[in-house]
Amino acid sequence: MTVVDRTARAAAVATGRAAGRPPAARDNLMSYGLISGYAVLTLAFGLLPALYAVYLAFTDATGGFAGLANFSKVVGDFRFWPAVSHVALYLVIWLVALVALVTVLAIVVHAIRVRWLSRTLRLVFYLPGALAGASSVLLWLFVLDPTASPVGGLLRLLGFESFVQVIVPGNLPVIFAIIAFWTGAGGWIVIMYGALNNISAEVIEAARVDGANAVQIAWRIQLPMLRKWISYMAIMSLAAGTQLFVEPQLLSQASNAVVPNDYSLNQLAYQYAFQQNDFNAAAAISLLLLVVALALSAVFVTRGGLFERE
């Protein structure tokens, strides 16, 4: 801003009141006041940590430029690719289940005409969302332990006699997917339900008059109109899923390390930071995960539509 510019603004402030309209400079000053707290937080806990992680990822312990050495170290780590494949497998199972089941359940609940029933179902589906994080994992430890489980009979039917048999590595992606689905699906069902309510009644009515049955209406009208929300859900869940941490961390603890404590990428980053005191390598992994998350969110921000208000 030039000096002239600044003077002009000061003058505008001085004459502002008489003009009746909000003068630009005064407006500006107040805006900065209102936004300042949030701007500071964005800087401190959004931008700066990301930039600091970039700095650490490209330097060594002494602060010298390291090029891609940290990245090649973590990617070359024998634990890295197993962790990637664990997370990938979990994501595939979870996303397929989420997209298919949430869509079907939302359409079914939406089709129920008895209002109290539809309302109660939504509440039952949604309530597990209150048990996020460690609490839901703890609950599922009980459910998966055949000696305590409410569905112990079912587990034995499937051939599991003990907790250790249930949590063999091959089962873990499915188990984590079930836990994530149990906690998170209800919220999405409620969101999809809201989106279904936004489909105009005339369209549905017209389809019915033309002889479409419920399945055809769901397939030809409701599903295409939900597509935006479904892809939103898939992208958000994909981004969140790459962060897998609390489930394997608690399971590792509960199983006396039958489940390794470097099962997921975030756990590996945690190991680097806290067991090996290698902040540079930890920053490199965090940065890789952050880039994935940023790329996914950028898809949404740039493709727009959902978030544009102007």
Partner: protein, 303 residues
């Protein structure tokens, strides 16, 4: 924010007709009701049983109030009342961060929606981006940053990062840009309101619904946050209850055989800990269920 018509559409919904169609739908719904509800019901019942009842009794038989109180005293006696400390910590962190979030986000959302200033566009885009990335993605970078300035272990290392809540700013931004008639603000200016008074006297009193919504999401997210406090707080005295649960888990012989000893935790006590750890959130959920279950489209916009 958009509101969703829930009642009027009911008559036009595609109903499921035909005997087989109904049967399939009924079975599907029943299976998922059981899937979602059984673990919670079982958990509540488990808190009223003794360890023996839990493993040999019927899973859905209720225990007794006496056992509940035994479990209760075992839980709150754990490590000389550690659970009370953790619950207090959780409350301090969640409420403290929420207060900062509200004080900062509501004016920010107003400024972004109804005023013009430099960098506004940039801040808006940053808000959307950070809102869409999972909040765990920045935890280790924030740890590294706060470690560099020596804040690790302080309550502020949890409260400040949690209070940065772009989703809350986004909700407020949407609310102020769609639900407040600009004529109303213009009228206030003509009546001689200064700009700041337009915010404090006109916009703020109209913001009650959005304050409630941001408070709901903020509180629930703060209370359930695990990774951030897990990384930031090295000592048990500072744990929130979500992290404290790991200590309880480590002392439960059923899951960790090496922990048998004086301070060991029985399964029903661990079940009670799980219930206690989510009780505040569960209460908030039940109290706000009217607006939540009606169709939570607040995160997006109407077609």
């Amino acid at each position: 924010m958009t509101s969703v018509p829930t009642g009027s559409a009911a008559a036009h919904r595609p109903g499921v007709s035909g005997w087989s169609g109904r049967a399939v739908v009924t079975v599907l719904v029943a299976v998922f009701v059981l899937f979602f509800a059984v673990p919670i019901v079982w958990l509540l019942l488990a808190t009223t049983k003794s360890a023996r009842d839990l493993s040999v009794g019927h899973p859905f038989a209720a225990g007794s109030a006496g056992e509940l109180s035994t479990n209760w005293s075992q839980l709150f006696g754990f490590q000389d009342g550690a659970v009370t400390t953790w619950m207090t910590n959780s409350a301090v962190y969640a409420v403290g961060a929420l207060v900062v979030t509200l004080v900062v986000s509501i004016p920010a959302g107003y400024a972004l929606a109804l005023t013009r200033f430099r960098l506004r566009r940039l801040l808006l885009v940053l808000t959307l981006i950070v809102m869409l990335i999972p909040n765990t993605a920045l935890v280790l970078p924030i740890f590294l940053e706060l470690n560099a300035v020596g804040l690790i272990g302080s309550p502020l290392s949890v409260i400040l990062p949690m209070s940065f809540f772009p989703f809350g700013v986004y909700l407020t931004y949407i609310y102020f840009s769609t639900s407040i008639p600009r004529d109303l603000l213009a009228a206030a200016r003509i009546d001689g309101c200064r700009e700041i008074q337009v915010f404090t006297r006109i916009a703020l009193p109209l913001a009650a619904p959005i304050v409630a919504l941001v408070a709901f999401f903020g509180f629930v997210q703060n209370w359930n946050n695990f990774f951030l406090p897990f990384v930031m707080l090295p000592s048990s005295d500072g744990y929130p209850v979500q992290v404290g649960l790991t200590s309880l888990l480590a002392s439960t012989p059923a899951f960790n055989p090496s922990s048998a000893g004086g301070q060991s935790v029985q399964l029903p006590t661990l079940a009670l800990a799980t219930v206690v750890s989510v009780l505040p959130v569960l209460i908030v959920f039940l109290v706000s269920q009217r607006f939540l279950v009606a169709g939570m489209t607040a995160g997006g916009t109407k077609e």
